[in-house]
Symmetry: none
Subunit: 264 residues, 2 copies
């Protein structure tokens, strides 16, 4: 897990300067966005900060600490709340937790533990909200929705099958990057590609068909001869607009019949 993935937007309400100093160091070095406050603030301000978590010393909020806690917990859904206070009784801790606090830490405490607990609270919250990692990814006119196993253009589904979708998803994960055939096969099919297997090509064709029929002005998948394929949305150069090749020219094509529908 990277630094960024763990990054947290945090507000701290406390008056203990020694504690704040140490904590701030840690927050900075961890790259967390944070804001230090010395007193309670209205709930809507907290909402405006778009916080992931709030760390408060109940005693710093004043006599209405409990009320404040309850109000914030009730009115800022999705905010992780941790109380960090000196000397507390079991009854107080239970009360705080029941009022909506997600964790209760007793001072003195190690800043690293505080951060780990904040992470744990935020992690839990995110896990509840975000099902997997998937909100619509947009490339040109194409919208890829992992939660639907489907791609859309202008809100209309392309009708991709499972494999088709997996292939498209794989390619679109790294736009502009060429992926080798072998790697594609390995990742989508799950096992090594047999020699002479053309499955990838076939599925690329199906994908291109469905892409083109729904989004004719764009080319999404490019072939790299001898290597593999690359996803990279490119606006197609409309031939009818500039330097039109005479349409009649196409009819003069001699022998090769493009659609030899008859065989045998």
């Amino acid at each position: 897990m990277t630094e960024q993935a763990r990054a947290v937007r945090l507000a701290v309400i406390d008056t203990d300067t020694a504690f704040l100093t140490v904590l701030q160091n840690r927050l900075d070095s961890a790259g967390w966005q944070h804001r230090l406050l010395t007193e309670g603030v209205p709930s809507d301000e907290l909402v405006a900060m778009k916080l992931n978590a709030l760390l408060i010393d109940i005693s710093a909020v004043g006599p209405n600490g409990w009320e404040f806690l309850e109000r914030v917990a009730g009115s800022v859904p999705g905010l992780g709340i941790l109380v960090c206070t000196a000397q507390s009784t079991v009854a107080q801790r239970v009360r705080g937790l029941r009022l909506g606090a997600d964790d209760w830490i007793s001072k003195p405490c190690h800043p690293e533990e505080v951060m780990a607990r904040i992470e744990a609270v935020v992690r839990r919250r995110k896990r509840a909200e975000v099902r997997l990692n998937a909100w619509p990814v947009l490339h040109a006119e194409l919208e890829i929705r992992s939660d639907q196993y489907q791609a859309f253009v202008g809100g209309q589904a392309l009708g991709l099958t499972r494999r088709e979708f997996e292939l498209l998803e794989l390619l679109a994960q790294v736009p502009g990057q060429v992926i080798e055939r072998e790697e594609i096969y390995q990742k989508v099919w799950g096992y090594a590609m047999a020699h002479g297997d053309r499955s990838v090509d076939v599925f690329i064709r199906k994908l291109r068909q469905k892409l083109q029929s729904h989004s004719p002005d764009w080319r999404y998948i490019h072939t790299h001869f001898g290597i593999g394929y690359r996803f990279d949305p490119e606006r197609v150069h409309d031939p009818a607009e500039s330097d039109a090749p005479a349409p009649g020219e196409q009819f003069t094509s001699p022998s090769p019949d493009l659609h030899p529908t008859v065989t045998t």
Copy 2:
């Protein structure tokens, strides 16, 4: 109501009989379903228990406690994990929390606080669900009442059995989202799906029957071939009205963006 709303399915892994005795009393009087274990169990067993939370004493699991913790946290999504252990260092606590524990309590501890912390851990995930569950949810003509384990159309009950209802509830919790067969099975049945098991299909059919007989103008459950099912109320196209008998009509995923989900 409060009692019920707070009810939790909990498993405890510990060997401290004195602690267990006291805790069990509290659990019983609170009406929590619980199971006491004395050693680590495989993850899939934990899944099968459909727990909300797990309370473990790392030392009771043996030398592989950390590994166990990490494995459970990784493989049982949505399970709240609390560690309750005597004598721990900051480093240990941080490690445990980073490995996936949601809270870390030091013995000796008051059982009431333990329960409050368990509640806090379970709360967020559950609140989202319970909020949906508390108010009757309405989709098209269909009304889903979790408190009755039943669904209604025009005030009339569909006569769903327990499994049928659970399946419908699961699907309807995330309208518009495709849920994989495996995931359905895991969430409703509680254990991993055996290869070739058709239970899901059978129950989908029963659901569709009851849905259609009570609400014939709507289609609620859509099949995604090779993947799973999606709940998404759609007005059915009346065949008597007009229409060419469009043969290949399969994926009619509509344009409107039906994501009631939160934030980015």
